[in-house]
């Protein structure tokens, strides 16, 4: 996996001046990744569509504040991750779901239902539901690495944590993912043995 090319400096300058064409250039380059990240972080296709639009509107409104000290993509992903985190938190409060703690968090705050054989028709949906079973912190770090292709240093900048934390969170997220995959395989084999 390689990190994608950043937005052209001329487009960044135009975006800072309020040029709508530059926003379109940013959307064409990063829109699909941002959309996929929103789907993975929010576990809801309709919410992801809306969130991706809101994220690019925030980019539009805040472009003048981009100081160029980081890559444009890093700045964009920071907006995206924060937007999805805020949206998830609002939804949690709306539903009155208590904030999970400890190990329970890993499986409780994704909002996804347990994986069962009947729900595995759509492979992509299955993967998104598995992602939703990770805790918010693990899901974010995994999405930024696997879907967005950011380096550890860039992820650290987006999330505001040390690089060592990124490394350990990623390792734990992957271990959890592999555990969930094994559990799903086991369930599937049990279902198949019944039929």
């Amino acid at each position: 996996m390689t990190a994608e090319r950043d937005l052209d400096p001329a487009d960044i300058a135009r975006l800072r001046r309020g040029d709508l064409g530059a926003l379109e250039a940013a959307y064409r380059r990063f829109g699909p990744r941002v959309h996929a990240s929103c789907r993975a972080l929010l576990n809801n296709a309709a919410d992801a569509e809306d969130a991706a639009q809101e994220i690019f509107l925030k980019v539009w409104e805040r472009a003048a504040q981009f100081d160029g000290r980081s890559r444009f993509s890093t700045w964009l992903y920071r907006i995206a991750v924060n937007h999805c985190a805020q949206r998830t938190e609002k939804e949690r409060l709306r539903r009155g779901v208590p904030l999970p703690d400890g190990d329970a968090r890993e499986f409780a705050d994704g909002g996804g239902s347990p994986i069962d054989a009947a729900g595995e028709r759509d492979a992509c949906e299955l993967l998104e539901r598995r992602l939703a079973q990770l805790g918010n912190e693990h899901r974010a770090v995994l999405v930024l690495r696997e879907l967005d292709g950011l380096s550890y240093a860039e992820i650290a900048e987006v999330l505001g944590v040390p690089v060592g934390t990124v490394m350990s969170r990623l390792a734990r997220a992957r271990e959890r993912w592999i555990e969930l995959t094994r559990a799903a395989e086991l369930r599937r084999s049990v279902e198949e043995s019944k039929t």
């Binding site: 789907r39 509107l57 995959t181």
Partner: protein
């Protein structure tokens, strides 16, 4: 799971393996030494690659081009932002207005001050701020619109006391 094979434990080896597949591990000798002897961690590394392939499917999810909607909403926000003066601009206007009022108040104070031979600006200013000589009393001497506004804005002598 092994608590320790070679020089490092499995938990540490998995953290290193995770960094290794990302190309973020500077020295892989420790990891290789462990994985060569630990079957479980060897399987873990294989699983990491399988996971990467699976997640590539999420990254390539279909999406609809929302640019026309984003462009329309961005344009609308730009127009409304242009119509509404910024807070900085409002603050500047307010500061100018208050400043103008202050200057006019000084002019009025000078005009209303006792016209003795030694009356000067400093005595007029003292007159303006003195509790014994409330500013509203001075201002009521005239009925120009500016003075009416100042009377309305100034605290009454009774409140002052």
């Amino acid at each position: 799971m092994n608590d320790g094979v070679g020089t490092i434990a499995c938990a540490r080896a998995r953290e290193l393996a995770s960094a290794w597949i990302d190309g973020e591990l500077a020295d892989e000798r420790e990891l290789r030494s462990h994985v060569d002897r630990c079957a479980e961690c060897s399987v873990f590394v294989e699983r990491l690659y399988a996971m990467r392939a699976e997640l590539a499917g999420v990254a390539s999810v279909e999406w609809s081009d929302a640019w026309p909607r984003i462009a329309a909403r961005a344009s609308a926000r730009s127009r409304s932002a242009a119509r509404v003066p910024s807070r900085t601009w409002i603050a500047r206007c307010a500061a100018l207005f208050v400043g103008a009022l202050g200057v006019r108040a000084l002019q009025l104070a000078v005009e209303a001050a006792p016209s003795g031979g030694d009356a000067d600006l400093s005595s007029s200013l003292a007159h303006l701020v003195s509790i014994e000589a409330p500013p509203t009393d001075l201002l009521r001497a005239s009925a120009t619109p500016e003075r009416s506004l100042l009377i309305a804005l100034a605290p009454s002598y009774e409140e002052h006391k």
